[in-house]
Amino acid sequence: MSLEIRNINKSFGRIKAVDNVSLAIDNGTLVCFLGPSGCGKTTLLRVISGLELPDSGAILVNSQNMSTVPARNRNFGMVFQSYSLFPNMTIAANVAYGLECRKWSRADISQRVNNMLSLVHLEDQSHKFPHQLSGGQQQRVALARALAPKPSVLLLDEPLSALDAKVREELREEIKTLQRNLNITTIMVTHDQEEALTMADRIMVMKDGKVMQTGSPMDIYHRPENPFVAQFIGRMNIVPAGIGIPFSSNGDSKGARAKILGIRPENIKLSDDPASNGELTGIVDRISRLGNLTRFKISLPNKNGLGPVTVVSEVQGSSHDLQVGTPKVLKINPETVRVLEWG
């Protein structure tokens, strides 16, 4: 199923939680809504699910308007951060719940429940109650429960944030595999960039209810369009263009001059060669050794009245015998520099 949301607006009192958001999602795609807490991503998901009514806008599934259809009739599966398994029912009864709502026959229900539980490798836990299972197991049951009624769209609301790091990584793989095998259109809300980068086909970055950028994970990482996305996904040095770092103009300058540039730390190499034309020299301010990589803080000389600027460079390995205070030449490939703001 393809899903389209058009011009969704939702306010709570004076706070605009979702500000005119539109997005089209192709069949079988996994889209992540990524952003800091309070950016409106969960509200948007709840609006799509029907648990929250938008102030305006439309939700379309296969071009069919679902905006006024109540949550229970949308046939969307939803998984909550807190698992939300019904504590008074067994695992099997939880998975069967949506099928009973749809008046499936008893035989069909029992077969479907077995299939779903074996899909998430919990077929031997069906008689247990939720509190007897670990967090990761409970979330897999929740997944099975949401998928059992063959929903047209799967909605995941921070499904992994309540879990331990190790379980989180396992389940990340499992959800992705399941989603790909079932070819089900999926939206996942997360504040974890790593989760978004590894799982999503497309990422929509949000801030203050607005969409900051939509694109493939590699698009978002390598070609951020503004300082917010640049800093939220990975680390990026944000520097004024006037400082003199070389860059090759990316895209639509529209005659405007570049104002703010972004460079990933791994794209700044430090060299002892003499500076050729246009290359900057900085002083090593601080060195942090993180084991697999070493992070240098370099201060650049004051230029064009822009004040002292510091950038971070990251180099693989830890066997660098650099001293604080050493001057270094910054080797930067202009292709790796992004213009984040035009002025």
Partner: protein, 562 residues
């Protein structure tokens, strides 16, 4: 995108919900609101109307004649003299007692706690009843010591009222003192503060809301209490007893309603102030809080043990003497033991006790449905009716029981009113009890409702469940232990309450608590005591049964005594 599509869906389409379920929700909310309007607002409205009714039409002359009279000013003075002194004493004594239970290492805490709660199981005039048996002219003390002092009057009312409100105030303080963040106490100690300074700077501020709540609860309970002053007041009248005397004694409804209105005012004010402050306050600890560890301190524990023993002795003495008196041949002349008063050789025999039990069960049943639905609607429905309904649900907290009961006579003792069909029946008494105690019952249910994550409802909705299915399959199975608590609450209060039902009973629908009052009033001390004991017995039996059922299903932490 095609023009047709554009017309069909629009780019910024306004959402108009046409969900049938929303209509159903609004309908259910109205159905729950309707009895609140009929059984709370409508009677109040009648009282208000009647207070303006004069022989020359609508006017203020009732108010002028009451408010201008010297006797009335005396009553107001008396009521406040009793209420303020009682409130101050109770809050002070109950705070220290709760402190000794929660913040010291005294022995036998559970026993002390249980003893404090015993009076809640007895009819609400048991304090005056016991006090008379101890300190009255024919009381144990005067008889044994040959003295002749009288407890009737001001101090009798104050002492019995303190005993009456003590458990309520204790429960509030105890809950508040049970919550403590040990980190604050450790910081205070590390910074060099002594126990007194720690108490002033840490303990007291964290209990200020409990302090306020218990003050207002005590104030409301005492100023509206009518059983104790009736029994032990003698010539000392207060507003609550005057309402009864005007209405039952002299059939003067107009003056009764005016005094009722006067009584309503301070109570409504107290409740409004309490709710206002409570709204802006969440009595919750941060999730990082460490549980309280009481430091050992021998002298402190010794002092608090003595204090707790003294308090418990007072409470036990009052209840114990009532139990003892019920077994004496003829108090105070023949003190040999006898079971003859349990034959209930009085008018109506033991029927009032059965009536009380029926009323208790009916109130429990009606109460569960009324309060459970109201809590579900206000917590989950998210319609525009939520806040008006919430307000309606807690309005009864501001209405003195006598005022509500009086309103019932005025509103329903009228053949043209449909409720007249059940007027004078036990059913109406049960309904009256449900709506008199509606606010507290509602708050019990909605607090527990709040603790049940609303994502269960949302999970059910996204899986295709209607709200009816959600209630049936999810909410009720999770909520039922709390609802058992609600049932116990309504049953208990129905068994012991006096003020709301006093105007509604007829000879055939008399309830046991009223029997105690009437028997006490005509000097049948032994039978009155026997009735009180039976009420306590029934309440305790019901409590034990509920406890047993809950324990059997593994719900040990549901509190039943409120």
């Amino acid at each position: 995108m095609g023009l047709k599509n554009r017309l069909a869906y629009g780019f910024t389409q306004k959402i108009v919900s046409i969900d049938k379920e929303v209509l159903l929700k609004i309908l259910v909310a109205c159905l729950v609101a309707l009895p609140l309007i009929v059984f709370v607002l409508y009677p109040l409205f009648h009282i208000l109307g009647r207070s303006f009714q004069t022989p020359d039409g609508i006017g203020l002359s009732n108010y002028f004649s009451v408010l201008g009279s010297k006797r009335f000013l005396g009553l107001v003075y008396n009521s406040f003299a009793v209420t303020l002194v009682t409130t101050g004493l109770t809050v002070f004594l109950a705070f220290i007692f709760a402190f000794s239970i929660q913040r010291t290492n005294i022995p036998l805490k559970n026993l002390f706690r249980l003893i404090t709660l015993v009076p809640l199981f007895a009819p609400s005039l048991v304090q005056a009843q016991g006090l008379l048996l101890l300190l009255g002219r024919n009381g144990l003390i005067n008889r044994t010591l040959g003295t002749d002092f009288s407890i009737y009057g001001y101090w009798g009312i104050v002492i019995s009222s303190v005993l009456y409100v003590f458990p309520y105030a204790f429960l509030i303080f105890s809950a508040s003192l049970a919550m403590a963040d040990n980190r604050l106490y450790e910081s205070s100690r590390i910074l060099g503060a002594g126990p007194w300074r720690t108490f002033i700077t840490v303990t007291l501020p964290s209990t200020r809301f409990a302090l306020m709540a218990s003050t207002f609860v005590a104030f409301t309970l005492v100023i509206t209490d009518f059983g104790n002053p009736m029994v032990i007041g003698g010539d000392y009248s207060v507003l609550a007893t005057e309402v009864y005397n005007q209405v039952i004694g002299q059939a003067n409804f107009e003056l009764g309603t005016v005094i009722g209105m006067v009584l309503l005012l301070p109570v409504a004010l107290a409740v409004a102030v309490e709710k206002y402050f409570n709204k802006n306050h969440q009595d919750q600890l941060s999730e990082h809080a460490k549980p309280m560890v009481v430091q050992p301190h021998k002298l402190r524990d010794a002092v608090f043990t003595i204090y707790s023993v003294l308090i418990c002795l007072c409470i036990l003495a009052v209840v114990g003497i009532v139990i003892f008196a019920s077994f004496t041949h003829l108090w105070p002349y023949r003190m040999d033991l006898s079971l003859r008063h349990y034959a209930f050789d009085v008018q109506n025999g033991i029927q009032p006790l059965w009536n009380s039990i029926y009323v208790g069960f009916m109130a429990a049943g009606i109460g569960i449905v009324a309060v459970g639905l109201a809590a579900y609607i206000t917590e989950r429905f998210k319609t525009f009716l939520d806040s008006p309904l919430y307000f309606l649900c807690i309005v009864p907290a501001a209405v003195p029981g006598m005022v509500l009961g009086l309103g019932y006579i005025l509103a329903f003792n009228n053949p043209s009113n449909p409720v007249y069909a059940i007027y004078g029946s036990l059913l109406l008494i049960a309904i009256c009890n449900v709506y008199y105690y509606h606010a507290q019952g509602f708050l019990i249910a909605s607090t527990s409702m709040k603790q049940i994550s609303s994502t269960y409802d949302e999970a059910s909705a996204t899986l295709g469940g209607t709200f009816i299915r959600t209630i049936r399959k999810v909410t009720l199975p999770i909520m039922w232990p709390t609802l058992v608590g609600v049932a116990v609450f309504f049953f208990m209060r129905s068994m012991v309450t006096l003020s709301a039902v006093i105007f509604l009973i007829t000879p055939s629908s008399q309830v046991a608590a009223v029997s105690v009052l009437l028997l006490e009033d005509r000097g049948a001390v032994n039978q009155a005591a026997a009735f009180s004991v039976c009420i306590m017995g029934v309440v305790v039996a019901f409590l034990l049964l509920a406890r047993l059922v809950l324990n059997y299903f593994g719900y040990r932490n549901i509190s039943l005594i409120r």
